[in-house]
């Protein structure tokens, strides 16, 4: 089942969307899917947040989770 991904900062511009849907079942799969759909992402380091916490290790994606892709921060 498709899970919604929120996009922020320059990822919104690259994808021309503020959200996308993925069928990936884990975060590594999501990274591969994004790189295939948007080859330019190979040159952009971004973080993945699951339920508003950054995940570094490969993490299963489940329906109902809040997923977001976060480009490098530039607040302050």
């Amino acid at each position: 089942m498709a899970v919604k991904i929120q996009l922020y900062g320059q990822l919104k511009e690259i994808t021309r969307a503020s959200e996308l849907f993925t069928e990936a079942t884990d975060t590594e799969g999501l990274i591969r899917e994004m790189a295939t759909r948007y080859p330019v992402l190979e040159n952009l380091a971004y973080l993945i947040a699951v339920d508003r916490n950054i995940v570094q290790a490969n993490t299963p994606i489940k329906a109902g989770q809040e997923l977001a892709l976060l480009p490098p921060y530039s607040g302050g």
Binding site: P72, Y73, G76
Partner: protein, 148 residues
Amino acid sequence: MNQKIKNIFVTGAISPAFIGEKIAAHQAKTGIGGHSIFLGQVRADTIDNKQVVAVDYTSYEQMAMEQMAAIREMIIEKYSLNCMHVYHSLGKIKTGEVCLFVFTSAPHRKAAIDACSETVERLKAELPIWGQEIFDDASVQWKINKPA
């Protein structure tokens, strides 16, 4: 998460009047011996002969507020602060305007100053906030935070 989630976001620039009101509100807290304040101001950088005229800030707001609540709880405890307030602008902020206001208060100066400094460094590194620089020819570029 048990921390109290505070809204740190302000739409538009942070005005000198707002900062003054926040200072005044602390006069009743007589256990305080020192405040430290950091104000971030939008700088008119020149890049490739184009000048920055504004920065447009956006955020993953709920996550940023939750992350800030965790930082806040940790810093208040570490430095035994009386209190801490953080405000960050969203939207288009012109050069010369204030976009970040960090305000720490403690019984003595060193704790207030060190807490303020650590809070600024951590929020720049850890909060999901993005600034897009707008140039005088209307072109744009995503800002990247550099170490202090």
